[in-house]
Amino acid sequence: MSEVHAALADHGHEHHPRLQHHFDSLEQQLYASTFGMWVFLVTEVLFFGGLFMAYIVYRIWYPDMFVHASSHLSVPLGTFNTAVLIGSSLTMAYAVNAAQRGARPREQVIWLFGTMVLGAIFLGVKVIEYMDKITHHLVPGPNFHFEDPAYQATAQIYYSLYFALTGLHASHMIVGMVILAILAYKAAKGQFTAEWYTPVEIMGLYWHFVDLVWIFLFPLLYLIGGAH
């Protein structure tokens, strides 16, 4: 025990309860966490990158097929979802701002919860779109049926990409919403202050990244179909 006391005395000042023992200061800890999230996002870019690479290759090989296959996606629903996601980025930015200011727990929770609701709306619309693809036999595999027989085989590549890209994106949103729920719970307990708001800050980076992926997916998947 005496060693512990000596170690405590050695530091000479009170520690913030959120400061982990292996960091020297809250600033260092925030820097490490934020930097860590950026590094993680680099990983995420490469993770999606493999599928984007496949998209590029096949788009170059089969430009006509992409146009035809894409015309079966609903541009109004895609546009609506894009607006919803951009809106959720706004509420997320407000949530980060509220945490940074050390705003009242109620305000922090509202913005975090609002972000979750918008995320849920997005996923709900996504489910409607997926159901539509299933009923129209546009899921790749033995039951796939495309109206133009010329594209019966290759259109499956487009829909493989569509489901893999949007599915991967949606799974990232589900993970994000779980974390948002945890953060909202912590915010309600008043854990985030102007001194320590790291989780909300890095969650914001993650959420904006997920939105950004959609900003690429929307034109690449929905808007290449031309007038329909």
């Binding site: 060693e3 050695d10 982990q20 023992h21 292996h22 960091f23 020297d24 260092q28 820097y31 490490a32 930097f35 860590g36 590094v39 993680f40 680099v42 990983t43 995420e44 490469l46 993770f47 999606f48 990158g49 493999g50 599928l51 690479m53 496949a54 290759v57 096949y58 090989w61 089969y62 790749p140 595999g141 033995p142 085989a153 290759t154 499956q156 590549i157 493989s160 990409l161 489901f163 893999a164 991967l168």
Partner: protein, 538 residues
Amino acid sequence: MEASIAKPTNYLNATHGAASWFLTKDHKRIALLYLISVSIFFLMGGVFASLIRLELLTPAGDFVSSETYNKFFTMHGVMMVFFFLIPSIPATLGNFLVPMMIGAKDLAFPRINLLSWYIYLVGGLMAVSAMVMGGVDTGWTFYTPYSTAVSNTHVVMTGVGIFIAGFSSILTGFNFIVTIHTMRAPGMTWMRLPLFIWAHYAASLIMIMGTPVIAVTLLMVVLERVLHFGFFDPTRGGDPVLYQHLFWFYSHPAVYIMVLPGMGVISELIAGFSRKPVFGYSFVAVSSLGIAFVGFLVWGHHMFTSSQSIYAGLIFSFLSYLVAIPSAIKVFNWTATLYKGSISWESPMLYAMGFIGLFTIGGLTGLFLSAIGLDLHLHDGYFVVAHFHYVMVGGTLLAYLGGLHFWWPKITGKLYYEPFAKVSAVIVFVGFNLTFFPQFILGYMGMPRRYHQYPEIDGWQVLNVLSTAGASILALGVILPAFYLTYSWFKGPPAGPNPWGVTGLEWETASPPPTANFEETPIVTRPPYAFTNEDAHV
């Protein structure tokens, strides 16, 4: 005799019980968890290697069927590449040393570090389950369309296991990068970092940027097998070669995940046992980044014979030659470091010398294979097998063993019996060369890889018998340390803080180190490897 003096508290005896290990956030304990688990996977990979060599003892396929043999070499590759070589040095020595060498108390994210071990374990258990249930026969490369449409073995489970284990590698690299950026002790500038750190930094960049690509690629294979997606299916206009591009975009740089940390170990060993700063420190440091960067641009040399355009082949050939430059910088600078050094021949130095020789052969034969004309002849033959084993085993495994011997006194606080270590280093070197050098000749004569039988011509059997004999010697050489190192942990004499008399922050603290690594945060005033005051003012 020292009963009256309380034993100093260190990371090993600070807390007790299974939970204190399995829930530890101490990077040093996590390193030991990794050490034990990668050793188990190494053993499994080694068993499959022995079975392969046993089959090839005779030209006829008389030991196992070709189907079983396919599973043997696949499981050998999967175990060794994904579950031993990739995590070997970074997750054990790197985990232990990265915070210590930069004067930090721990990695930036200790909980994520522990998580990475559990993820590794889950991935490994899945791969082992697939193996127990009947194995997989695609080769560790999982080439499509065989893996997606033909093979009826456990591709999905193995693939998911590797997918999961990949995230442990990502998290390790991620943790190292953030730690090196944000946790350096006062005075530990970038140009004062030990070369071990530079090498791990470069390898970490590959881990975070390459691994997600193989993850998503394996995901695509799984989607194609399970849900009948059509990314790589030629009957639907998909391109199997696209799979090869995506696979090698990770798997070629992955070779540098394996060998860069090994190079970091060798830099420490050469400096330590020459009692000199590494010649051209900044070149050796930056060459690690150079290898990581150029390493990302050479993947196409695996596809010289896979319908890749001749112009793409030309560029990939040129870039593959280019990666030899930073590698050669390292070899030349290590050699120059020896010049006028006070060289001593302790066992880690023997491994380091072995590494330089074998890596040089591995690297130079890589140049043979970068030449398109020669590659057309050597492709998918034993020359390739010998080449990459010289890099992966002669390079990474020797560096791993050398590093383990070098830092063993720091990790355990005990000294092992040096004559045993010297003998085993020599056995490994001899056994390795006897195993793999004949394979260069076999490959040049045209023996293809991945067949369980071969024709009785041109003395092929003699060379294969030599190779199998060498493998037995090599096995002895790698099993010996398991005994004398373990023995030393319990019975070895105390090592003291710096048994080799070398430089580095990790040697300035007790052996084994306290949980927080240092009694107080060190302040760095000298460049690395400052053995004399003269060196300190460089």
